[in-house]
Structures are given as structure tokens and as C-alpha cells.
């Protein structure tokens, strides 16, 4: 039975990719629902990215919207100004990776202040980063400044979103379950102790921030080529807050949790639209229900729905069948 379970994961993934590629052509699912599914996918990547830093490493970053912005603008600049238009659908993954890479460089930069600061102070550092990115973007008329940047073709498709989500989860999972990952968890538990037992905390922080930023950058690129218009206003603290909610909703320290949190959050917010309309409540109450649900959730499950637990197919083989993953923190 175990064997067949293991075999089925790659099969499922291929099947998923085929579905993602074919579905838009069939017309069974409306473009609106496709859009929502794309948003879910993008949010999944963002949640996984933030979970690496906040959930697994126990730091507190509120600046991830900045990484997303960097990725979005980089990818857009490439497809609009650099790549020839006809070739851009084929070169799209390149643009995404480039966006991720530039965001990763930014993540690298942010890792250094994190050596000296912890917890709440890091929140400020990341907030500073976010504000600076937003400020810079607003003051660069070449990139449109506050007017925003336009001209991207609709290169994001369900297929790309699916592939990117799978890639992100794969990358994150391998990071978390590697030797590196043990270092990440040990920092969350007790940074000083971790250093004392020989974990190279600095290196671990650098890698985690970089990978996290990389993923957020990819999500940014996907986002830009879905909406075909980006402006600094889209990447504010509010966006970072959205990401925080998704991560904590789904469960910190759990990749499956991030996937779940992103899905639930996106769908509930979209689903509340017609739901409220049919009951006759004004749309403004939608944004009241969301935080309310979150607070209620925090009472019952303070670590999120899947906090510190993991979906079985995401755990490496050696850790399934009874072996419990990492302990719970203090």
C-alpha cells in the first residue's frame, strides 16, 4: 500500500499539470473562476514563502510584499522592454526566475540586519525595507512611478501557476527537511542555544531569507502577468498583512498549512461576495468577517489549522509512519 501511495504523487502532479493546461481551453470553467484559481495559486506561493521565515524560522517579517514587488517589476520590465514580444510566452519562465533572483538579492540584503535584531525589531527592519521599496518605485518615473507599469501580456496561465506552485513547494520542502532545515528550526526554538551547539545561524538566516524572497519574487511575476498592471499601491503593508493572515490561518511551520491557508483565505473572501449579496448585507461587511474568523480561529487553534503538523505526502519517506515531526516550541 505504501508503494502505491508513493508512486501516485508524481502521477497526480502530472495529471494536475495536464488539467491546468487543458481546462482553460474547454470552457467548462469560467474565466472568472480561472482567475480566482490563479489567485489561489499565487497566494499559495506567497504563503509558503512567508512561512519559511515566520513559521519555520520564527522570525517576524512584514516586508514580504516588498519582495513580491521587486519580482513583479523585474519580470515585467523583462517581458515588456527586453524580450521580443513574440518570444515572451516561451521566455516567461525566464522572466519569473529573473524576478525571483532579483528579489532573492534583496532578501540577501535583509538577512544581514537580522543577525543583530530579533523578533519585534526585525519586524521594523522588514517594514523599513517595504517602505523603501515602495518609495523607490514611486519615485522612478521610468517605471511609471505611482502611475504604475503596464504593457504586460497575459502570460500567466493555469499551467504556469500550477508549475510554479509545485516548484515552490518542492523547493521549500527540500529546504525544510534538509540539514539546513534543522538549522532553521533550531533558530526558532532557541537561537543562542543553536549557535552554541554549532549551527551556523548566520548562514542559515541568509539562505532562508534568500529562498523566501526568491519565491515571493516569482509570485510577484505571476501576479504582474495576470493583472497586466502593477503599481506601488498594490504592494503595501496591507498585502503583507494578507500574507501573514494566510500563513497563520493555515498553520505555521507547515507547508500543507500554507497551501490550505491560502486556499481558504482567497476562496472565503471571494465566496463572501455572492453570499452577502444574496442575504442582502452590504459588501463592506466582507472585510469584517475575515478578521473575525481569524480571531475565532486563534482561540481554538492558536497555531493555525495545521500548525506544526504536515500533510503526509509532503513529509520525506523517512519521517512518515508514526515518526512525529519536530517538537512544538515553548
Amino acid at each position: 500500500m505504501l508503494r502505491s501511495r508513493l508512486l501516485s504523487l508524481p502521477v497526480l502532479l502530472v495529471l494536475g499539470l495536464v488539467v491546468a493546461l487543458v481546462l482553460p481551453q474547454t470552457g467548462w470553467v469560467s474565466p472568472y473562476l480561472q482567475l480566482v484559481i490563479s489567485y489561489v495559486g499565487i497566494n499559495m506561493i506567497l504563503a509558503v514563502s512567508l512561512n519559511l521565515v515566520n513559521g519555520y524560522m520564527g522570525e517576524f517579517s512584514v516586508g514580504h510584499a516588498g519582495f513580491m514587488a521587486v519580482g513583479a517589476y523585474t519580470a515585467s520590465i523583462l517581458t515588456v522592454w527586453v524580450f521580443p514580444r513574440e518570444a515572451s510566452p516561451a521566455l516567461f519562465p525566464l522572466a519569473l526566475l529573473a524576478g525571483g533572483a532579483v528579489a532573492a538579492v534583496a532578501g540577501l540584503g535583509l538577512a544581514f540586519p537580522s543577525f543583530k535584531t530579533r523578533g519585534d525589531y526585525l519586524a521594523i527592519v522588514t517594514l523599513a525595507f517595504l517602505m523603501i521599496v515602495k518609495s523607490v518605485l514611486e519615485n522612478l518615473p521610468a517605471l511609471g512611478g505611482p502611475r504604475g507599469f503596464m504593457g504586460m501580456d497575459r502570460l500567466t496561465s493555469l499551467g504556469w501557476v500550477f508549475a510554479s506552485v509545485v516548484f515552490s513547494v518542492w523547493l521549500a520542502r527540500n529546504l525544510v527537511y534538509s540539514r539546513w532545515g534543522r538549522g532553521v528550526l533550531s533558530i526558532r526554538e532557541d537561537e543562542t542555544a543553536a549557535g552554541l551547539v554549532g549551527a551556523d545561524t548566520r548562514r542559515v538566516k541568509v539562505v532562508t531569507f534568500t529562498v523566501s524572497a526568491f519565491l515571493a519574487g516569482i509570485a510577484g511575476g505571476l501576479f504582474a502577468h495576470e493583472i497586466q498592471f502593477i503599481n506601488p499601491r498594490a504592494f503595501t503593508l496591507l498585502k503583507s498583512t494578507d500574507m501573514l493572515v494566510m500563513v497563520y490561518l493555515g498553520g505555521i511551520g507547515s507547508l500543507g498549512g500554507s497551501l490550505l491557508g491560502a486556499t481558504v483565505y482567497t476562496l472565503v473572501l471571494e465566496g463572501l461576495r455572492p453570499a452577502l449579496q444574496s442575504v442582502g448585507i452590504a459588501q463592506e461587511w466582507r472585510l469584517v468577517f475575515a478578521p473575525l474568523l481569524l480571531i475565532l480561529l486563534m482561540f481554538t487553534k492558536p497555531r493555525g489549522i495545521l500548525g506544526f503538523r504536515e500533510l503526509s505526502f509532503l513529509r520525506p519517506r523517512g519521517e512518515r509512519d508514526g515518526a512525529k515531526k519536530g517538537g512544538e516550541p515553548r
Binding site: 469560467s30 502611475r147 493583472i227 498592471f229 506601488p232
Partner: protein
């Protein structure tokens, strides 16, 4: 593992899919409306919503819209675009998928532009009542006009020039100053055109100061403007910020005239500004007191239904609907492409906000008016033709 989250979200997916697709009833005209009901300009969104509902109610009271001899009831499908680009795109997509004949809104340019992309790709005609950014109706890459995107208002390039002309001829300003929001498309655009236009007339700006959206304290910048010896102040900003700017300027001792743009058009401004805005001018789309008989009729009825004089956004929304209804009738059938073609051919349409015609682009050719705030009310001052 806990199964309930998956069941829950499966339910949500199915639920929203069902709710979205349950719109196929008897023959009727469904028009999508995307308004900023939440976000930073909800008053504007509410105004748009009211005017939309009013326009449709008026048509339905006459038995529906008559197209090619048959009367069809008209219905609105209202979405909140949350004043966010991605939600505006999603809302537009939702309306398109729901099968609307055409879309009205969003209003703020930052939301209208992404929605316009959706409309253009889906080949659904869209009219934005209030978005004045030139980019809205242009293809981003080729700079050629979009085919399916229209608007009911003038564009900022025109408005900035009108304001500059007024500053020179009427205010006789020799050292004009500008205070604008650099983080907002609309404000920045008009401010720049104003400056360029004045320069063309040989007048240099004394001060060109900028702030960021959300600022409430402008004392530092206004002090700088005072220091530069400005004799007039141009505030191309929104009604929520202008009262503070005016009050603070006066407190710091600035006595010169203050000029504004159509962002001043909401009556909220009068409530918040009080006596400090008395006697000042601004450029905008329409003036209720010089209304044509047709317009006066609209204003009266709107006031009867909602208890207040329609602001410029309400008037523009009403005109958007009137344009659309006219186009549908001209087209003779409920077909998106036909409606679009009819819309593009409209010439000499008399709306509440003035006469307009479309000349091959989505931007109407129409005049602007200058309004003065007198006795706490908006009073017409003069017209500026294109």
C-alpha cells in the same frame, strides 16, 4: 488529519460557482457595474452605485429599454472592486463571465486600467464614468486607442490646460504654486500638465511641492510655498485632503486664491472645509445650476430619490448609462460587438454633463466648467471648450 477544511472549501468553490452562473433568466439586459464601495473613496463608489440604480430604475419605470421594437427590462450586476487593482480585474472578469452586455466603471484610474485590460481582451464594451487618466483608453504597448474602452469624462491632459488658462487669465497669477499628491496617478498627472502649460505661456512655477497619499499635515510644505512668495495655489487633489490643505494654508498666512480640479467635486468637501473654501475655484465636469432642462429634470428627480444634489460622479454615471442605452438602441440588438460599434459612432450626444461625441477613440470631446464656491454652494463660473 482534519477533513473539515477541505469539505468547507469544496463547498465554497461550488457555492461561488453556482452563485456566479445562475444568471440565465428571461430576456433582459444585464449591465455590470464595478464601483469602489470599500477602500479609500467609498463615497464616490456609493455615488456611482446610486446613480446606476437610479438610471436603471428610471428606464424600467417606462417598461424597460426599447430595442428594435421590443422592450427589455434592465438589470444591474454590482461588484465592489475594493479600490484595489487585482480586485478590479477580478470583478471585471466576474462580470464578463456572468454574461453582461457591457460594463460601467470602475471610477478611479488605478482600478479602471486593469479592468480595461480585461474588457479589451474579452471584447466587452466598458465605459468609465470618472477615470480621467489618458492611459485608460490606450493600448499600453502600441499607444493606439483601445477598441472597447470608453469614458464619459474629459481627460487630465485637457483639465490641466484649462486650469492653467484660468490661473493666467482670471487669477492673473504670476507666481503660481502647486501642492499635489505624488503617489497618485490623477493628481500627479494634472499637476504636471498644469506646470507645462503655464510654462508654455511664459509663467514659471514658484513652487511645485508634493506629498504622499494619506498625509494630513502639510505645514512643512505649505511653509515652503509661503517662503517662495507664491500668489496662487493649485490643489489638484481629492475632496478628503483639500480641506486640510486649504485650512492649513490659511493658518500659515497664505492669502492668495486657491484653484482645484474635479477631485473637489464631492459635496463632502463643503462640509469639511466650511468657510475656508469660500470664493475658491475648481475645474470640473458639470455645474448643477446651469443645467439644461434635461439635466435639471435629472437633478430634481435624483434629489427626490436620494435626498441630495447629484455630484459629478453621479451625473457622469447617469450619462454613461444614457450613452450605453443610446448605443444599444442604435445597435438594434443585444450584442456586445454591435453595441461597441454603435457607441464609437455616437456624435452630438446631449448628456447632463454636457454634449459629447466619440471621434475614433474612447475619449469624448467635451468641455469643462469652472465652478466657484459661493455661499457654501457650488456655483457655475465659466465654460472652457476643448
Amino acid at each position: 488529519m482534519n477533513r473539515s477544511p477541505f469539505l468547507f472549501l469544496a463547498g465554497v468553490i461550488l457555492g461561488s460557482a453556482a452563485l456566479v452562473s445562475c444568471n440565465k433568466g428571461p430576456e433582459k439586459i444585464v449591465i455590470g457595474v464595478s464601483a469602489e464601495l470599500t477602500g479609500s473613496i467609498p463615497v464616490a463608489g456609493q455615488s456611482c452605485k446610486n446613480a446606476a440604480e437610479f438610471a436603471v430604475a428610471t428606464v424600467n419605470a417606462a417598461g424597460g429599454l426599447e430595442v428594435a421594437g421590443k422592450k427589455y427590462p434592465v438589470e444591474i450586476l454590482l461588484e465592489d472592486n475594493e479600490d484595489k487593482a487585482e480586485s478590479a480585474a477580478a470583478a471585471a472578469q466576474k462580470l464578463v463571465s456572468a454574461g453582461v452586455l457591457a460594463m460601467i466603471g470602475p471610477n478611479a484610474s488605478r482600478n479602471a486600467i486593469p479592468a480595461a485590460e480585461v474588457a479589451e481582451t474579452a471584447k466587452v464594451p466598458m465605459i468609465s464614468p470618472w477615470s480621467t487618466a489618458a492611459k485608460l483608453t490606450l493600448d499600453a504597448r502600441t499607444n493606439k486607442p483601445k477598441k472597447y474602452v470608453f469614458r464619459a469624462c474629459f481627460i487630465d491632459d485637457f483639465q490641466g490646460v484649462v486650469a492653467a488658462g484660468f490661473a493666467e487669465s482670471h487669477l492673473k497669477s504670476k507666481k503660481p504654486a502647486v501642492l499635489y499628491d505624488v503617489a497618485s496617478e490623477y493628481n500627479k498627472g494634472i499637476a504636471e500638465v498644469y506646470g507645462k502649460s503655464l510654462k508654455k505661456r511664459g509663467i514659471e512655477l514658484a513652487a511645485f511641492e508634493s506629498y504622499t497619499t494619506g498625509d494630513k499635515d502639510f505645514s512643512a510644505l505649505l511653509t515652503k510655498i509661503q517662503q517662495a512668495g507664491a500668489d496662487s495655489l493649485f490643489l489638484p487633489n481629492y475632496y478628503s485632503e483639500v480641506p486640510l490643505q486649504v485650512k492649513q494654508a490659511r493658518k500659515l498666512g497664505f492669502t492668495g486664491p486657491i484653484l482645484g480640479s474635479d477631485g473637489w467635486g464631492s459635496p463632502e468637501l463643503l462640509t469639511l472645509c466650511g468657510g475656508d473654501c469660500e470664493g475658491q475655484f475648481f475645474t470640473t465636469h458639470y455645474a448643477p445650476d446651469i443645467a439644461t432642462p434635461k439635466a435639471k429634470d435629472f437633478i430634481q428627480k435624483f434629489q427626490g430619490a436620494y435626498g441630495k444634489v447629484p455630484d459629478d460622479l453621479a451625473a457622469l454615471t447617469w450619462d454613461s448609462f444614457s450613452l450605453l442605452f443610446q448605443a444599444i438602441q442604435n445597435a438594434g440588438k443585444l450584442d456586445r460587438q454591435a453595441v461597441r460599434d454603435a457607441l464609437a459612432k455616437i456624435s452630438n450626444f446631449e448628456g447632463v454633463t454636457g454634449t459629447m461625441e466619440f471621434n475614433g477613440t474612447g475619449d469624448p470631446v467635451k468641455s469643462a466648467v469652472v465652478i466657484q464656491i459661493k455661499d457654501g454652494k457650488y456655483t457655475y463660473f465659466q465654460t472652457a471648450k476643448p
